[in-house]
């Protein structure tokens, strides 16, 4: 380990030598700017105002002619978007509404880091000024140029100003200015980070790039990316997805054992659906095939009374590759009699940040939770914790019988403020602790639109915290609402670490599915830390590939290690995993046999395909139980597994998988239609329609 540390150090030390030409150019530029600065009585400009813009002059010239209305409108919208970010990002930097503080300097809450932007707007942006006689925003500061004799670095006064005058949408934004009497430090970035200023700078750059100004040479060189942003469709989207590259084909001889944790999340399917119905193909990174497959209920063999779950294996020809077979492992959780379910303690942890205001966020969330309320029993308990700016307990633990009180608290939730997820989570765990009692199930339901990291310096720390709290027996599930800043990665990881489920709720019917129809499954775990390990028989399986479960793979030795966390199965739910396997000698083999390797085809070529091992723990237990089943290869398929295969194909089509050959949308639709079986809730037919939509969109 220390070796690695040293390796990293050595590798970092070995920075490539700077190019002599590059150094020469940079130095020449530095000297030029130095000279220019000495001659100029103007205060120094900010770092954004670089004199050099050579690489982009051509682009600028091009933009000079782009004066048409659409171009200006496009710029405006991009500018507005960027201003929007400038308002959101700074944690403690006070940013006010356009034009309100020009004459009221405020004390910034920021630390010493700072930079001043001098209001270039006035003289230089003459074109703008003539279109819209915006006031050229004077910095409310004295002593602008008295830079050198004020030695107190930490007390530097800072004025951040960007006066904006857009022809189409006049906007002026003035960011924090500090107490008077300090001195302005023009053009300086002292330390720390400066979010608002930077974004404001970006606005200026982008405007500069498009506006038909005659004198652009003083303006900062717009970074190429910034120009590209200006031209790209104005879709501002900060979603992040958790995914890995699809599992590769493995050679059985080299790696006979495949280990993974089950995954009961369904969020990916709902995100895919929301994208498709919104009229665009989902980001391939948003597609997690196993979550799409597990979205659907399957009629697998029910477990016997003594079992917590049953497993069903089926083998069938691969729809997209005649040379391979699909091995489907279906797990069916037992459904204890509803009447016997233990009392439930629920903590709703609700994000009430400003971004939750949209109709498909907080209002949908309220509706969803009230739907669920009617499914609870009088002895269940509910409490509500909100987080936004500061965390607060909105509803102390209340018996579900008291519906009126709970509904009233729900109704009163208002969106506003920024997100401080960590604090809210801590409070929720505290509240959950007080609700706990022997024999009851306690679960936190975190409902958010995804932004969870403002104020949390370290997302990993948050996950570690959740993982630690998991030990206390409280489960954490995540419900995501709305699109736009879905931080799928953090949500996934919180739910995985918190022994819960991540679901994405885009419609009321999805809320119904997750919270009402599957209330028992979503809220009552019957088996914890369920791990699957398959050992393939090299005599009958030369290559195999696990479809999906990329984010859930485990190391081989983790299977027997009860300390290693894995997924949970809820009451009555199903989990499905699909392998694509290739027999030795098949034309469909992707890897050639090794010339010098040991061709270990020992074993019975007519024997089993492999050996399935399942490990699970009863909820709350520390030691696991092992269940072993051979995979004979003669297990037949059913409409259920064929439908699962169609969905696996759907997911891989969306990912642009290389394993599908000529198999396309038509075949996927046909397969899904033929096997939709008994579909009382219409989930399967909905999937078929989504495939049709995706087919049209991908042309």
């Amino acid at each position: 380990m220390t070796d690695d540390f040293d390796d990293l150090k050595a590798a970092l030390k070995a920075a490539p030598a700077p190019d002599a030409d590059a150094k020469f150019r940079a130095m020449a530029l530095a000297m030029k700017n130095f000279d220019a600065l000495q001659g100029s009585p103007d205060p120094a400009r900010s770092s954004e105002d670089r004199t050099d813009a050579a690489p982009l002059n051509g682009v600028r010239r091009m933009f000079k002619f782009l004066t048409s209305r659409p171009a200006l409108a496009a710029t405006t919208s991009v500018a507005a978007l960027v201003v929007g970010i400038a308002v959101i990002l700074p944690v403690n930097l006070r940013v006010t509404e356009p034009g309100t503080t020009t004459d009221k300097p405020e004390t910034p809450v920021v630390e010493p880091d700072l930079r001043t932007e001098t209001p270039d707007a006035a003289p230089e942006n003459s074109t703008v000024a003539s279109v819209e006689p915006a006031k050229p925003a004077e910095p409310p500061v004295t002593g602008l140029a008295s830079g050198n004799d004020q030695p107190v670095l930490d007390a530097e006064l800072v004025v951040d100003e960007v006066a904006e005058a857009e022809p189409a949408a006049p906007e002026a934004k003035v960011a924090a200015a500090s107490e008077a009497g300090g001195e302005a430090a023009p053009g300086l970035v002292m330390d720390g980070t400066i979010l608002a200023e930077d974004d404001a700078g970006a606005v200026m750059r982008e405007r500069a790039a498009v506006e038909p100004e005659p004198s652009l040479s003083y303006l900062p060189a717009p970074a190429p990316e910034a120009v590209a942003d200006t031209l790209s469709p104005p879709v501002e989207n900060t979603e992040e997805y958790a995914n890995d590259a699809p599992n590769p084909v493995k050679v059985t001889v080299e790696e006979p054992v495949s280990t993974f944790s089950i995954d009961v999340d369904t969020a990916s399917y709902a995100v895919v659906r929301s994208s498709l119905t919104g009229g665009y193909l989902p980001d391939p990174a948003a597609v997690r095939v196993e979550e799409m497959i597990n979205y659907f209920p399957y009629a697998y063999k029910a477990p016997t009374e003594a079992e917590a779950f049953s497993s069903t294996v089926s083998v069938m020809p691969t729809p997209w590759n005649p040379g391979t077979r699909l091995v489907t492992i279906g797990i069916q959780g037992a459904l204890p009699a509803i009447g016997e379910r233990p009392p439930l303690n629920l903590v709703f942890l609700i994000d009430t940040s400003g971004s939750m205001e949209d109709a498909n966020k907080l209002p949908l969330l309220k509706q969803s939770l009230s739907l669920m309320l009617s499914e609870l029993r009088p002895e269940d308990q509910v409490s509500i914790v909100t987080y936004a700016g500061s965390a607060g307990l909105v509803l102390p633990p209340t018996a579900a019988a008291d519906r009126a009180t709970i509904l009233a608290s729900l109704e009163n939730l208002m969106a506003g403020g920024s997100t401080a997820g960590a604090e809210g989570l801590e409070l929720a765990y505290q509240v959950a602790e007080t609700m706990k009692a022997e024999g009851e199930v306690t679960r936190i339901l975190l409902a958010t639109d995804g932004d969870f990291n403002v104020g949390v310096s370290d997302p990993e720390g948050l996950e570690a915290y959740v993982a630690k709290k998991r030990e206390t027996g409280t489960y954490l599930s995540v419900l995501c609402f709305g699109r736009g800043n879905l931080d799928d990665a953090v949500m996934q990881s919180l739910a995985q670490n918190g022994n819960g489920q991540a679901a994405y709720i885009d419609t009321l019917s999805e809320a119904r599915k997750v919270l009402v129809d599957q209330l028992t499954g979503a809220l009552f775990p019957i088996a914890d830390d369920v791990k699957i390990q398959v050992e393939w028989n090299p005599a009958t399986v030369a290559e195999y590939r696990l479809i999906g479960y990329e984010t859930r793979s485990l190391r081989r030795e983790d299977f027997n290690n009860d300390k290693v966390d894995a997924g949970e199965i809820g009451a009555g739910t199903q989990v499905t995993a699909i392998y694509e396997v290739t027999a030795p000698g098949s034309d469909a083999l992707l890897n050639d046999p090794l010339r010098y390797g040991a061709s270990a085809t020992e074993g019975d070529p007519l024997g089993e395909l492999g050996f399935l091992r399942l490990r699970w723990k009863a909820p709350g237990e520390d030691t696991s139980t092992l269940v072993e089943t051979p995979i004979s290869g003669t297990e037949g398929s059913s409409p259920e597994t064929r439908f699962a295969a169609a969905i696996a194909g759907f997911g891989q089509l969306l990912q642009g998988s290389v394993y599908l050959g000529d198999w396309g949308w038509d075949q996927a639709i046909e397969l899904a239609l033929a096997n939709r079986g008994d579909d009382p809730f219409g989930y399967r037919i909905e999937a078929v329609n989504l495939m049709r939509l995706a087919q049209s969109l991908s042309h």
Partner: protein, 180 residues
Amino acid sequence: MLMDTPDEMLATAAAQGDRAAFATLVGRHYGRIHGLAWRLTGVKAEAEDLAQDICAALPAKLRNWRGEARFTTWLYRVVVNAAHDLRRRQATRSRASQGWGDWELARQDEIATQAEAEDWLAQAMTRLSPELRDTVALVLGEEMTQGEAGQVLGVSEGTIAWRMSEVKKRLRAMAREDAK
């Protein structure tokens, strides 16, 4: 004589308009700027661009030189901030656009011909969060003390210590994974 003058004096002189002092200063530190820029971005071309931008902005920035910190600390701060600006400009949050991420994508596209050491470095860096990367670049790459790195990044020494232990943890996990 200029060659022996301490950075801080040169900077003060340059801030007051001394051309020779400025030239010496930039010449002396270009390599440092470029090196840190490379460690922060992981892409040679980007490091060059960043270094050029920093040099171009340096005359203006020097007007705010107060001679309170060591010049190199001040300069590192400038570089780190410029790198942050760059990251933010690059479609901000998408992981793929954070330098090392780009590098990683390009690497996957290539027919792995990269030298193995560099390959490993990129892999290691890609798995670290931006804060950890910055910290590693300063503490390991520039051999700063944790206190100095804290000054540059504007966080406490304790935070740096914590981040470095976090890096060690990640490396250990990586090593375990590789050994698998």
